[in-house]
Symmetry: C2
Subunit: 438 residues, 2 copies
Amino acid sequence: MLVSQSPHANALADADAGTSPQALLERRARLLGPTYRAFYRNPIHLVRGSGVWLYDAQGRKFLDAYNNVASVGHCHPRVVEALSGQAATLNTHTRYLSDIILDYAEKLLGTCPAHLGHAMFTCTGSEANDLAIRIAQYSSGGTGVIITDFAYHGATIATAQLSPAAVGEKAVPAQHRIVAAPDTFRDHGRAARDFAKNVAAAIDDMHARNVRPAALLLDSAFSSDGIFFPDAAVMREAADHVRKAGGIVISDEVQSGFGRLGQGMWGFANYGIEPDIVTLGKPIGDGHPMGAVLVRPRLVASFGSNTGYFNTFGGNPVAAAVGIAVLEVIESEGLIENARTVGAYTAELLRTLKGRHGMVADVRHNGFYFGVELTAQGDEALAATKTSAVVEAMREDGVLISSCGPRGNVLKIRPPLPFARDNAEQLAETLDRALSNW
Amino acid sequence: MLVSQSPHANALADADAGTSPQALLERRARLLGPTYRAFYRNPIHLVRGSGVWLYDAQGRKFLDAYNNVASVGHCHPRVVEALSGQAATLNTHTRYLSDIILDYAEKLLGTCPAHLGHAMFTCTGSEANDLAIRIAQYSSGGTGVIITDFAYHGATIATAQLSPAAVGEKAVPAQHRIVAAPDTFRDHGRAARDFAKNVAAAIDDMHARNVRPAALLLDSAFSSDGIFFPDAAVMREAADHVRKAGGIVISDEVQSGFGRLGQGMWGFANYGIEPDIVTLGKPIGDGHPMGAVLVRPRLVASFGSNTGYFNTFGGNPVAAAVGIAVLEVIESEGLIENARTVGAYTAELLRTLKGRHGMVADVRHNGFYFGVELTAQGDEALAATKTSAVVEAMREDGVLISSCGPRGNVLKIRPPLPFARDNAEQLAETLDRALSNW
């Protein structure tokens, strides 16, 4: 096709860059099939990333206020160097002895309370949650897992069945129990206040139906549920109920971990909870496929000897080198402190928008994890439409965010950790413009 | 501790290199827990790999005749270059558009029969098998999966339940059926001849208990079962039985794929089977954490729109760059041809050992996948002990192999694909010495 035949300016520019988004979408549908869905009505064809910036095929620069995977910044040179150096030296598995995996495990466990004594390595957060459930069911002797009503915990069969956000509540097997997420905003925060009570009721209901509780599985930021940071005492009480019933407390830190919440490395610490198992993923390797399960040693003592677990790529020397580099960058660049201070500054800017736009009903945050709930005088469908429109408008205006929550009316903002004050200002100004257009 | 206080020469050398194997084992047990098990009574502390060679902390060189993950050779420079270059440029996920994932999907699907139209990317073979089962159950409406009696298909909850080699037959849920692996040696190959009949009986048994068949899931090399290459017509007949019953045929090519069997890229082709789903893992990225599901488009049409699937790291640009590099290396270095010709030469050398050592009962192979079955006049325990001893003796003599099979009496030999004739000779000579010591 001749470029001059293209009726759209965008297609023209894209043709210059090699491939139009439309052609890419068609090729995706043909080669990858219908499960591959792109962000934005006008999907972005990315070619480069650096720090908090992403660049498309036309050289347009986007401020990334969404990607928590490239957590220490896109293509961080120190991480890339560790990856490249180790990949050129040795990349085998954990059936051979190696120092680096032990150095990494030691460093990673060193960021946690001492009761989490063992680190086990996987390649994804899904695999980490899948393994955590396996360990919890094995060690508790129970089968039932308690989750929140719009939780997401992974894409394996077992974790998808514990992800109503992905598969719907009906696909959650009968032995599990769904409790209302601790929504701190809606209905004046009733579900958040009642959270421990609801967990206790779920346990009672399990007992009534002869289901033995295995675990309470919670994302410390309630990412899919709409991003909530409920009261610590209530969360501790919920954890206590589960422990008393013989269940295991699993903190899913795949989204909230590695300093994002700005108070320390882990979200569970904000609640004063001592989880029995902690699962890690997404930001753990700044994009490298890694996951981990940190666990109380006694929970895997008999699991280890009877069942065993081996993950071919999990904890290989390259993953360990990358993992160490990520921890070192978080430390040397003061990224937790940055998440705390610039996070607070960003929240302040977002809250001024609440004053200026009636649509902004609530601004919630911890560090660099923000939920901005939009409403439309009680019209839920309209609120969701507006939320989508704001996300799309911001994309067109050069800032990447997304939305979440069961009603799709919460802006989900979670930038890479090196996000600076001027980035925060650009985010807030762009959001201000997007909201003003309604 | 002063070096001169060490009573063992090995410990001395290790102390020079920084850490003794014993200290590493203790540190592993403390940090990683009991699921981490090392190969060999005298575990190897590796520090470097290159081509078919692995080097320990004392600079000792081992010929790798076991690792199928580093399939195009340890730390292949072209793969490392692709990895490093892409990791420094862009490493996001498939919610954005990118050319490289499509180039990779096209290249990968191009190695398969045309009916496998879509590629879906995961991070491990376990995730690939887990997703394949999910798609098979969804698209067939069935639940029951047929596997062989010492199969291994992964480490997620769902795939471990289909891995009697890992969890035992008792842990396989009631809706699944276990059939005897098509053992071409034992009992004069009866299980291999009867394989299709056994699969048909398993389907009948499902029907009798109101279980709807979902899939036949087979490793094309029967790697854990003992490494078998049964008659193609019987395998096709087994596949036909499953299809007629409404089930899906899944070829698990995690071990047998990417040219290892020497006839082409995929093991299923040797049987003339047209699988509905093919799962890939281990060698796909020469050590980089990757997996894939290749599937008939109609099987994911409604799965895609109703359930969806997203894998955070799966198919990211770095994985795609690595995957392309691996395919290019296989092609440019003629590695499939090498697996075929040097594989045949290696088999010839191994067969001469059969003549020289009564203990060697059977030598099976396709390309670079060898099963050498050892017996001890019908004493199974002794055969297993001898098999272990041979593996250990070879490790001490500088060649790495392992064992498999339900009775632990099959030497498992599957070198990286650049394995050369002189490597084959070293392998055979070392094995000759190990066998002679019995």
